[in-house]
Amino acid sequence: MSDRETPYVLKVSSQKASLWKKEKPLVSHLDVELTERCNNNCLHCCIALPADDLVAKKRELSTGTVRDILTEAVSLGCLSVRFTGGEPLLREDFEELYLHARKTGLKVILFTNATLVTPAFAALLSRIPPLEEIEISVYGMHKNSYEAVTRTPGSFEASWRGIHLLLERKVPFVVKSALLPQNREDVEEFEAWAATVPWMDDFPSYSVFLDLHCRRNEMKNQTIRNLRPAPEEGVEFLARRKEKYLKEVGTFCSKFIGPPGDSLFACGAGLGGACVDAYGVVQPCMDLRHSQTLYDLRKGSLKEAVTHFFPEVRKIKARNRDYLSRCARCFLKGLCEQCPARSWAEHGTLDTPVDYYCEIAHTEARVLGLLQKDEKAWEVMDWKERIRDLSQIDHGQMQRRASWT
């Protein structure tokens, strides 16, 4: 259980899978989407509503209800909550919710664009730390590129002001970005700066293959589709540090590869965690908003959702014929981002193959040397031989095997 033991007190990290000696708690992590509103208007965003959308604001959970949800999660053993949005700092009661979470013994993960970080809020985070690094989305290193993405005048200065306040107060944070044509030229500069952030122990992560809008807004989806890189282009970006990429993806694939059959939920959605949207709907995954997978918290409890509703959701089987003939038989399942949430966003169903992600997975498989040109993974019979020893792979040999063709 411990990574560093002293004679009497054990220091533990809640990141460790071995934290629990006996049973895991019913809910070990909770995501709370405090609002769908955002003060930015990012081109690629899969959720944001305008900050001044009063109808959305009125529908949002009250302070008391969010506090009650957090309290119930704590009673179920929850150790960490992620406050996300939209921009969670738009909530006027954010500080109260944050303090409630911390005082009930939760670690807090905050997803933010940092534009609304004030000196007082940075001081609060310094005094009562979230115990998890804040995750800040940075959309560019220059006003032109940044605001070409956010489409919000003044957002560049506001974000960097917030970031510097956190740096001054030594509040731990990490930065991440989305790869877009508007900020593509900033990548090297961004990574060089990110390396100076004291809490960054790796390169920043990027959203490369952009998710469609979680409420299936078709106008928004047309914009997002136009921003998406071609599979080869996106994979080339991901694999630009080839040895690191091959090692990470190879290790991951060796654990999570093989045909899933007709089981739709090969991921951990609804296992030991839950997501609450801005209006009180509980979901097994924050991106999955198909009606079959939603539980109305106003008519029940978090405990009921995780003990009875989620297990039923996870039993849902694929019925789509195309899915059964392709995805169900495809050994790239662990490599492919096809999942019920993506099927929902793209097609409004739980089990329709998403060709974009299929092409990406096939491109990555070719880079890993698992597929030849024009091969379809679901037609490969000797996949076990191909993935053998993927985790102990000789990366030099793998680089020689790897092919872009």
Binding site: M1, S2, Y8, S13, K22, G105, P129, L131
Partner: protein
């Protein structure tokens, strides 16, 4: 900060932490900065530590706690005292525990 534990003193959990019991584990979550060596650090106590922690209620003196432990574990107080003092001093040093009064 005085981190020397005294048998005649009374100790209680600090208000700078939140102590939680989750699935049989005692998890101590820092509330304010500076409790842990690292920002994401939590603490736990083993079974013996938990038996001590449960008695550090801001009412009993450490001497009374020692007597209770001696009876519960059927061991001479002299054998338990060193571990009890060691644990309390470590908790005091980490600001997880405070002296009362």
């Amino acid at each position: 900060m005085d981190v020397e534990a005294r048998l005649d003193a009374v100790y209680a959990p600090s208000e700078d932490i939140v102590a939680r019991s989750i699935e049989g584990e005692l998890i101590i979550v820092p509330l304010v900065a500076g409790i842990g060596d690292f920002e994401d650090e939590l603490y736990s106590l083993n079974e013996t530590g938990k038996a001590v922690w449960d008695r550090l209620d801001g009412k009993k003196s450490l001497k009374e706690v020692l007597a209770e432990l001696s009876a519960e574990f059927d061991a001479p107080a002299g054998e338990i005292e060193k571990d009890l003092i060691g644990l309390v001093e470590e908790l005091l040093r980490r600001r997880i525990l405070v002296a009362v009064g």
